[in-house]
Amino acid sequence: MRKITALQVFTLYSLSMYTTFTAFLINPLASNSKYSSLLASLIGPILAWILIYPALKVTKAKPDQFIIVYGHELVGKWLHIICMLMIVIVNLVLGATTLRQMSDFLLTEYLIGTPSWAVLLLFSLTVAYAVYSGISTIFRASQGIFLLSALAYLLIPIFASSEVNAAMIPAFFTHLDMKHFGDGLYLNLAMFGEIAFLFLLRPYLKTPDKSYRSLLGAVLFAVFINLTHLFLVLTSFGPEVTSNMSYPDLELIAFIQTGSFLQTGDPILIILWLTSLFVKICFTLFMSAIGLAQLVKVMDHRPFALPVTAFTTMLSIILVRTQVELNELVSGKLPGLLIVCEIVIPIIYWIGLFIRNLTHKHKEQRT
């Protein structure tokens, strides 16, 4: 059962966090948070790491069991079912949103004119296979991609540093605004709060206590990459132009001249995004599949891997009608829903655990 190492936790989470951020979050951040986005992207992730502490505490109560199995002892049967169903649904919507973002990106930038169903079908087949194979396959995939991906993400800012407009740097201190900062914090909190879902899989972790520290490592590493990319994009284009770009990081990389052999670096970024998003989508769908399996007491996630993937693929097509709706969903409604599932639900369980421990102590004192 205990297959996932702390290093694998570090690689999967840092990979999914910096890829999602650089690919899809820079645009809403520049639009909502302007110059305050840099500070929000520094504080938000660390705050998310602190706020997932209740999730860690709750799963510590029975380290060898899944919380989906014993959670009803803490909060009662019906509340437990509602909370867990919410987590499953949110993971389905999150998977569908990421899949839609990825397919939109491919269809507008790389595979222009290709029917969306063809892209989604091919991608979903690989996702279904990985989800069916299980958690260790997904974590191993992230471990395999990580080194190349991290190296590329660390090197890109060095190549793009010539585009920096140094005159813009003071604006990060003089244009700080509390409302903008709050908007940025909200987006960052929702995205980085996804680390809370890991504790639903605690029995799979080889060293669960070490994993909380490796999550901090993943958060800090992702924050470093995110901040360097965000800083470069904002100083090169400014927040107004950035908010009008679909993929600001890609635009920045398109400026890098790597030499005659490869004219620009954007094909490399496309490969990196695809592989990293693959891992993220697989993990999200695995969470849904195993959550559903344990809720209905089947325990084996494999029979649910294919229906969950098929449903998510279909959901990604009809999730929103336009790119504007997708942007509004990603920067408005979805983060709120995510924060409820990542932070509020573990706190409810934590309170349940606290009350249960108190009543146990009372009973022991009486006897």
Binding site: V93, A96, W117, L292, V296, K297, V298, D300, R302, P303, F304, L306, P307, V308, A310, F311, M314, L315, I317, I318, L319, V320, R321, E325, L326, E328, L329, K333, L334, G336, L337
Partner: protein, 63 residues
Amino acid sequence: MVWIGLIFTVIIIFNWFEQRKQQADLKKRFIVLSITITFLILSELLYAFKDQFNVFQMLEGVL
């Protein structure tokens, strides 16, 4: 809509025989079947009404 139905039919048949191969009990096989059919119905409904109603609008209404 036909394609959604076809994909889910293939999934149902695959899962049924795979579970039979693993000698899973009948109750669990029916649970998996019922959840897959729920997903199929949801998919068909969401697809049929995609121009009038979608997840984005649902979240707008709920939150």
